[in-house]
C-alpha cells in the first residue's frame, strides 16, 4: 500500500468517461454516467467483497449441513446450487446481483430510449443505401432467443420499437461496461482483439480473405478481426435488425469499412455457398443457443469453411471434473437467474465431440485460452486480475478446428 495515496492504491473500473465513442454512441449526461459508474462499482464490489463471503459460507455452513443431513457430500453443481439457495449469504448476493443487472438495464434503456429517434436518424444517415447492411424482415426469431430475454435485457437484441430503430443496439453497446466493470476495454472489444492476437501468434502465416462472425451483434468482437486483417472482408450475421443497423453505423463511424452486416440465423446460412469463408468466429455466443441450434450452427460452419480455414469459438471455460462444485454452481447462476438458460447445459457438453459430430476431424481440433486485450493505461487487464466473477471475467477458452 503506497503511503495513503488513494489514487495509487485504486483498484477497480475506470471512470466511464474513458469509454470510446462513435457517431451512434448515445449521448450520456453527467448523472447517466454516474449511474453507470455506480453500477460498475456495485458489480466489482459484489465480486471482490461479497463473493468471498458466499464461498466461506459454502465451505463452513452449506456443504457441512448437506453432508450432515444426507450422509454424503454434495455430488454435483445442481445439488450445490440448491443447497446454496437455503443460505442467507448466497441469497443476499444473488438478490443484489440480480438487482444490479435490472438497474443497469433500466439505466441504459433510459439513455437509449430518450434519444431513440435521434439515434435512428443518425443510423439512417450512416447506413441508408449502403449494401453492406442486409436485413430480412421475414426472419422468425427462434425459441432460444424469444423465450426469455438474455441477461434480463428487455426486448433482447431483436425487438424494434419503430421502423429504423437502434435502441437495443445502443443500450447493449453503451452500458455493457457495467457488467464487466470495464474489463472489455474502450470499445468493448477486448475479446475481439484477444482473438486477433491469438490467431496472429498461433497461425502466423494465416491470411484470411473472407471472415464470418456468427452472432456478432453490434460488431464488438468482429471489428478487431477486420482491423487486424484489412485485406479481408468481414461478414457479421445476427438475428437482430437493431444491432446490425447500429453495428454498420458504428463500424463506419470508427473507420472500419471492410465489414458487412447481414440479418440471418446461424442455423441456416444457405445465403452463402459451400466453402465461402476462411475463418468463422463466434465470441461469447454458444451459451445463448440451444442444443439443436448449436449443432446446426456447427454443421453450417463445417459446410462454409474453405480448406485450410479455421473455425474458432470463444467461450467461458467448460465445467470439468477438476473445477470445484462451488465454482460450477456459481457459474450456473447466470443460467438460472440471469436469463441465460443454455449456459448450464452448454458448459457441460463435450464440445470436442460436438465438433467431430459436425464433421471436423479430432486431430484437427484447436484448443487455447485468451484474456481481453485492452488499453492498459486506462483499463484493468483481466490477465492481472485475480478476482473471479464466475462467468463474467474477461478470460475465455478457445475451441476450434481447421479443415
Amino acid at each position: 500500500m503506497s503511503k495513503n495515496d488513494p489514487a495509487a492504491d485504486y483498484d477497480g473500473p475506470p471512470d466511464y468517461r474513458v469509454i470510446g465513442r462513435h457517431a451512434l454512441f448515445p449521448q450520456t449526461n453527467h448523472d447517466e454516467i454516474e449511474r453507470i459508474n455506480f453500477l460498475a462499482q456495485m458489480n466489482r464490489h459484489l465480486a471482490a467483497n461479497v463473493v468471498p463471503g458466499v464461498k466461506q459460507s459454502y465451505e463452513r455452513r452449506v456443504a457441512p449441513a448437506f453432508e450432515a443431513s444426507e450422509g454424503r457430500p454434495i455430488a454435483n453443481r445442481h445439488e450445490a446450487r440448491k443447497a446454496l439457495l437455503q443460505d442467507p449469504a448466497f441469497r443476499t448476493w444473488s438478490a443484489l446481483r440480480r438487482l444490479t443487472m435490472e438497474q443497469r438495464q433500466q439505466a441504459g434503456r433510459w439513455t437509449a430510449l430518450r434519444q431513440a429517434e435521434q439515434l435512428a436518424e443518425k443510423a439512417r444517415e450512416l447506413t441508408e443505401g449502403d449494401d453492406r447492411l442486409k436485413l430480412d424482415s421475414s426472419l422468425q426469431q427462434p425459441r432460444y432467443v424469444s423465450a426469455v430475454d438474455h441477461h434480463c435485457m428487455p426486448g433482447s437484441y431483436h425487438t424494434e420499437y419503430f421502423p429504423g430503430d437502434v435502441t437495443n443496439g445502443a443500450n447493449y453497446d453503451h452500458a455493457g461496461f457495467v457488467t464487466t466493470s470495464g474489463l472489455l476495454g474502450k470499445y468493448s472489444d477486448g475479446g475481439g482483439h484477444a482473438v486477433a492476437r491469438w490467431v496472429k501468434r498461433n497461425l502466423p502465416d494465416f491470411q484470411p480473405k473472407q471472415i464470418l462472425e456468427i452472432g456478432g451483434t453490434v460488431g464488438h468482437s468482429s471489428l478487431p478481426l477486420a482491423q487486424a486483417f484489412p485485406e479481408a472482408e468481414m461478414t457479421i450475421v445476427d438475428l437482430g435488425a437493431p444491432v446490425l443497423r447500429y453495428g454498420l453505423g458504428r463500424a463506419k463511424s470508427l473507420g472500419v469499412d471492410n465489414v458487412r452486416f447481414v440479418q440471418a440465423s446461424g442455423e441456416d446460412l444457405s445465403i452463402f455457398p459451400d466453402a465461402s469463408f476462411d475463418w468463422i468466429q463466434t465470441t461469447m455466443f454458444l451459451h445463448e443457443l440451444s442444443t439443436s441450434s448449436m449443432r446446426a450452427i456447427m454443421a453450417e460452419t463445417r459446410r462454409l469453411l474453405r480448406p485450410g480455414g479455421i473455425v474458432l469459438h470463444v467461450e467461458q471455460p467448460q465445467y470439468a471434473p477438476e473445477m470445484p462444485l462451488f465454482e460450477q454452481a456459481m457459474r450456473d447462476w447466470d443460467a438460472y437467474y440471469n436469463n441465460e438458460p443454455f449456459w448450464s447445459r452448454m458448459h457441460e457438453m463435450d464440445l470436442d465431440a460436438e465438433m467431430i459430430a459436425a464433421g471436423f476431424e479430432r486431430d484437427q481440433l484447436i484448443h487455447g485460452g485468451v484474456t481481453a486485450v485492452v488499453d492498459r493505461d486506462l483499463f484493468p487487464d483481466a490477465a492481472d486480475d485475480d478476482k473471479e466473477d464466475y462467468g463474467r471475467k474477461a478470460a475465455w477458452h478457445v475451441i476450434g478446428a481447421t479443415v
Binding site: 455506480f38 438487482l99 434503456r109
Partner: protein, 119 residues
C-alpha cells in the same frame, strides 16, 4: 418517443419470470433501497463535480468546504434541517410509538361500519 413512454420502456420487465431470493416483501424493499443508493451516489458525484468546477474556476479555494464553519444562524438552520429530515424519514417510528398510547384506537374500516349503520 414521449418521456412517459421512455420511462415506462426503461423500466420494462424482461421476458422470463423473475426469481426471488428473499421474502418477496424484503426483496422489494431491497430493490427500492438499492435504487435509492444508486441515486444518492449520482447526487454525491454531482456535488463533487460542482465543487471541483468551482475550485477550478477559483470560486472556491482548496479545503474551503472541509474547513467551513457555519456562523450561529447558519448552524441553527442546518441543524434544524437535519432534525426535520430525520423526522420525515422516521415518521413511521413516531407513529408506531404514538399508537402505544392509544390502546382504544379503532380502524377506519370498523368506524365505517359504525357510522354507516342504518339505525
Amino acid at each position: 418517443m414521449s418521456v412517459t413512454d421512455a420511462l415506462r420502456g426503461a423500466g420494462a420487465k424482461p421476458a422470463g419470470k423473475r426469481p426471488y431470493f428473499l421474502d418477496a416483501e424484503v426483496e422489494r424493499v431491497l430493490a427500492i433501497t438499492m435504487s435509492i443508493a444508486q441515486e444518492l451516489a449520482v447526487s454525491r458525484q454531482r456535488t463533487d463535480t460542482l465543487e471541483r468546477l468551482l475550485l477550478e474556476k477559483g470560486v472556491l479555494s482548496q479545503g474551503e468546504i472541509d474547513s467551513f464553519v457555519p456562523d450561529r444562524a447558519a448552524a441553527a438552520e442546518r441543524a434544524l434541517w437535519n432534525q426535520e429530515y430525520i423526522a420525515r424519514i422516521l415518521r413511521i417510528v413516531q407513529q408506531e410509538n404514538e399508537a402505544v398510547d392509544r390502546p382504544d384506537d379503532i380502524a377506519s374500516e370498523d368506524v365505517a361500519a359504525e357510522v354507516g349503520a342504518q339505525s
